[in-house]
């Protein structure tokens, strides 16, 4: 039993809902076309296909593209040692997914982190609060349109934030022959040599 076989079983069960398994460097990815049915696919993957371990859930901000968000589920099965990746796209208007925390308990905190950092909500989540930042912080800092230096905010008695001085940064590297070429430099100085 390989990950590809399991992905084909998923395709057999859900048909048009899921894409053909895509293989890249021996890792299998399956896209789910309807984000509202992701929990259904996950439940089948766990209960029938034996993916009993949810490794991680991550979110991607494709700013400027439609739909804006991509959410990625990394699954693993301890019995067959196969790894499968599920991907789904959500529009900025909805920014909402069904929770999988009732399928894998561990999803509880992963979903809270995505809600905290990216602002995607999870319907049916038992306790959807911020997990890293504090209640009342008005932004979602992992979004591409959020500046690295931050924005000022104030929650009295709890926390405050100010913008950080970047002094020409953030600093980036570029490939080069010598170490001095590869040194981190500010973007401005890279563009105007």
């Amino acid at each position: 039993m390989t990950a590809k076989d399991l992905a084909l079983k998923l395709k057999e069960k859900f048909g048009e809902l899921v894409s053909e398994p895509q293989e890249f460097r021996s890792e299998i990815t399956v896209s789910v076309n309807d984000p509202a049915r992701i929990a259904e696919v996950c439940a089948y993957a766990k209960q029938t296909l034996g993916f009993d371990y949810l490794v991680d859930i991550t979110s991607i901000d494709n700013l400027g593209e439609q739909p804006r968000w991509a959410v990625v589920y990394e699954l693993y099965g301890y019995s067959h040692h196969c790894h499968l990746r599920l991907k789904t796209n959500i529009t900025e208007e909805s920014s909402c997914l069904p929770t999988v925390s009732n399928i894998w308990k561990t999803a509880n905190w992963h979903e809270r982190e995505i809600y905290d950092m990216m602002g995607i909500r999870f319907e049916g989540h038992p306790d959807l609060r911020r997990i890293l930042l504090w209640e009342g912080y008005p932004y979602h800092p992992l979004r591409k349109d959020f500046p690295l230096q931050g924005k000022p905010s104030e929650v009295p008695e709890v926390a405050f934030t100010q913008t950080a001085p970047l002094e020409g940064g953030p600093f980036v590297t570029k490939p080069g022959e010598t170490a001095s070429e590869r040194e981190p430099r500010s973007r401005d100085s890279l563009e105007s040599p």
Binding site: L133, F146, G150, K151, A159, A164, E167
Partner: protein, 158 residues
């Protein structure tokens, strides 16, 4: 000097002398600098040689807050509250690049230097700071304490 002899000195010199050799730290360990702070307390570097081995995890019994590590905005007001709970006289050491200036964390989440919320007496460079540098800072703080006039202590208390 035989028993019953008398020494005459200035009151502030005597009080400062007592204080400088019993600076009890409040270990505000927030990141990797706290590991070096622990090393300073252990036998190789031995902060006890300077009278500061009594790490009090209660602000009420501490004299000097050693802010060792990255102060995030989430932690900033907690650090401030602990400092406010310390009894006068009190001092602050900003240990390492993060506590002094925010260090490499030019970001939305990190306070850019603990001196934005606390009056810092000594800044130490380093990422993380070596224990020797912390001991040097402690000796410099002792020198500062020994120069403190008694009138300023009274002013602080009243």
């Amino acid at each position: 000097m035989a028993e019953g002899d008398v020494i005459v000195t200035r009151l502030d010199a005597a009080i400062n002398w007592f204080r400088k050799y019993s600076l009890w730290p409040m270990p505000m360990g927030l990141a990797c600098c706290a590991i070096e702070l622990m090393a300073s307390g252990a036998s190789r570097f031995d902060i006890a040689r300077f009278g500061s081995e009594v790490m009090r995890f209660s602000p009420r019994q501490s004299d000097v807050m050693i802010v060792s590590g990255t102060v995030t905005y989430k932690m900033a007001l907690v650090v401030k509250r602990l400092y406010d709970q310390m009894a006068e006289p009190k001092w602050v050491i900003a240990m390492g690049a993060c506590a002094s200036t925010g260090g490499m964390y030019r970001s939305y989440a990190v306070l850019q230097g603990v001196d934005k919320i606390l009056p810092v007496d000594i800044y130490i460079s380093g990422c993380p700071t070596r224990p020797e540098a912390l001991l040097d800072a402690l000796i410099k703080l002792q020198q500062k304490v020994s120069r403190e006039p008694i009138t300023s202590m009274l002013k602080k208390i009243t």
